[in-house]
Symmetry: C2
Subunit: 525 residues, 2 copies
Amino acid sequence: MNGAEILLKTAARAGVTVCFSNPGTTEMPIVAAFDAVTDIRPVLGLFEGCCSGAADGYGRMTGTPAMTLFHLGPGFGNGLANLHNARRAGTPVFNVIGDHASWHRGADAPLTMDIESLAHTVSGWVRTAASPDSLSQDTADALAAAGKGMGATLILPQDVQWSTVAAPQIVPAEADPEAPDADAVQKAALLLKKKGNKSAIILGGSGLHATGLRQASRIASASGCSLLSETFPARMERGRGLPAVARLPYAPAYAFDRLAAFDTIILAGTREPVAFFGYRNGRSRLTTEAQRVIRIAKRPDNAGRALQLLAEALEAPPFRYQPAENAGTGPKSAPAFPQGKLNAKKVSIVLASMQPENAIIVDESITSAAGYYKYTAASPPFSLLTLTGGAIGMGLPCSIGAALACPDRPVIVFQADGSAMYTLQALWTQARESLNVTTLICANQAYNILKTEFKRAENRMAGSHSARLMELGRPNLDWVSMSCGMGVPARAVDTVEELVTALERAFTEPGPNLIQVNLITPAIK
Amino acid sequence: MNGAEILLKTAARAGVTVCFSNPGTTEMPIVAAFDAVTDIRPVLGLFEGCCSGAADGYGRMTGTPAMTLFHLGPGFGNGLANLHNARRAGTPVFNVIGDHASWHRGADAPLTMDIESLAHTVSGWVRTAASPDSLSQDTADALAAAGKGMGATLILPQDVQWSTVAAPQIVPAEADPEAPDADAVQKAALLLKKKGNKSAIILGGSGLHATGLRQASRIASASGCSLLSETFPARMERGRGLPAVARLPYAPAYAFDRLAAFDTIILAGTREPVAFFGYRNGRSRLTTEAQRVIRIAKRPDNAGRALQLLAEALEAPPFRYQPAENAGTGPKSAPAFPQGKLNAKKVSIVLASMQPENAIIVDESITSAAGYYKYTAASPPFSLLTLTGGAIGMGLPCSIGAALACPDRPVIVFQADGSAMYTLQALWTQARESLNVTTLICANQAYNILKTEFKRAENRMAGSHSARLMELGRPNLDWVSMSCGMGVPARAVDTVEELVTALERAFTEPGPNLIQVNLITPAIK
């Protein structure tokens, strides 16, 4: 058996069934090994960012290592942005990079790069395999590391891939669960019980999955504490039957004000909240020295368990669903169904009211999300995946992985046009794999968020030079043509009525669909 | 004046006139400064790989620093592959990356990455600016480093961009030319004169520009040595009136055999030749211990001058044009004009015979290049830019920079379809900037080179799993739709006759054009 087969057999033994791949010459033995180890299905992306984003989506939905295959340093570089998002999401991703044969690496051939340094920028675990004899263990170690919610990158020189071992042992990947911090849980329980002490729990990781949310709701019932979600959750379960939590605002000043009401902030599967960007005269941390911050679960996959322990420590009552009516997340805020020309608010309302039960919503709608989150508190239950690391171009690729992870669930990408352009090649993979994905391109033909940021920073309108960097028009992007060119049927809509019809069709037709939603965007004042 | 303006004013003083940009929030002061420092025109790319590839094309044509603007680590990561190619080309590229405000970097905000480590993988010079007071010097240092034919990356925390200095001094960028290695030139001259000693010069860098080629030709006339080009030149001048040189073959075994005929190998602006990939039972170096290898110019921009010194040391006769008839590069090999259904050979012949005088050909045609190079020895003079670093997705972006550097010259991208998909967003920038670029997409709907490499490595046909990673069909890519969707008019052709008509139209119409050239590809046996 050669190294490439040992790699795939070890991964298959650990439960890997899909490999998001964009291989080249230095991965040929692995490409060939897919014919021998057919438990793992290779899925081709036409750009590496589509593979890494797909792995992120897959790992977020399954919680198990999502495998990728990249070609040397430049291929990995192309996947970097979405691996960065995966790292911020705590997604278990297992990357394999082919490298030159070990005896050729010193020659500094044209494609040679410092792959290890590159890999370390987005991976918590990096190793270059030395021999096929130890490769099964290397693979198992990588999968175990990935399982802890980090990126693990295994670099495979080509000679390690093609060299053979007579009777290799295929090693299992050891799960390495981490117990929640029991001391921190006890401390948190004491503070929650303390009279007059105002507390909030910020939820992340599995704290936002169904069981985690229910435990958090029990804690809130028992203690009167507030529940918040981190601003950009990797995966949140939401909708009817689940406790609705408000998200910590994106703008640092609002987030700070929101948190200022609390004496104690309990972190469950998320990090201490900080500003997304550091603005002039702005702040970096969103908490103060006077506040008590306690982290009860460091690993995102631990949060649900930590919340359960905390609920038990408080002897909290069982979970009971109460349609949330606070924090603008409840049915009271359900707006009238709109009509006429579309804008960000109208598309948000339409989507929130039409999305089918059990949908997976990949939200990279950026400024087009106006109110969407708020309107979905009472939608049929769904999973929400957001842009965790701010590296745009995550939406379309993420849908690939989510759809492959959950073939029975409809996937909807709520997608800004500027961001979509970074990884539009993902549409082709949607088509090839016949994925049940509906993509809504919110077409405002601008980097609208940059226009907002410009106004905020400069307090003036953009001049003729700077405006060229924030407008996508001249020429306008025609998503219908681009999508059809990659095999995904598409149509454009201008009104609520057209959008409703297009969504009805998209949700009933098999395979992928794209809707270019032409938006009227109010001028930035 | 704030730091952002100091940056742009220093760059403008050094002669920078274009900045290939994809900014975000952390670059807002620089975006705004483009309205104040209007000597530098910002050109927007909708994906960072388009900006870095454009900078590569620009720098190859002008020989002066090409400026880019990227957003944090993930933005730079997206530009990495084409920066790798630029590094291998020795292109002077000056990258600016916005970073979080210095007081915010420690907070590990969602977009925070280890940008310096990332930058070092493709940059010979990296610095994080500490203050606007020293920023003009930082910028000048970066431009000087880039001028030596390397990537220089300046990281600008946002507070350095927005902070002001009362009366800043705008520092000039010091040119730092390097004299050729006079000792090596003398040694080379002695060996070239030595009776019975067989010598070849491998040309790279400015050794392949018009004057370098003429000096090399003088040396060959005086000494009888052979002239070769490195396999993948950054920029070669070629066609009628210029000495035609054969390129060192891509396949290591052929390259080794080609070089085995020589006792002495003189390197002018190129590195010691090594195999592109290390194959099983293959070799890494392409020279032997018995061969004498002398490097007369280390920096690519030095090669022309070194060749001139060598020609003078040999008292070589003046340059006289002789249509090359050796090494398959001469008019003897001009084939009959083809007809009917298109294949790689026919498209190569048609392009070689129709390309207009003074064209810039960006060649990323990979397996579709069959014979193209050979057929162009007697074409009207043109510049040839090739894929130096093997990171595919260079062709379309490179055309942007070449067209902006040389607005009076027609640019033609001879482009493989698989590679084109990595950076297809470049078509939009071609359209927005009304660039005079004709793109030929060689559509074989496959990663054809991988099929060849697979056959070579595995000695069997691909199985059903592995084949999925090498075929681009199901669904086929429709380049006409994709191109029109980004504002570049396009048509598809199946025959020589249709291609001729399409090229005639493309060469006369202003602005960009795309031709999808549907190729019949022989099966890999």
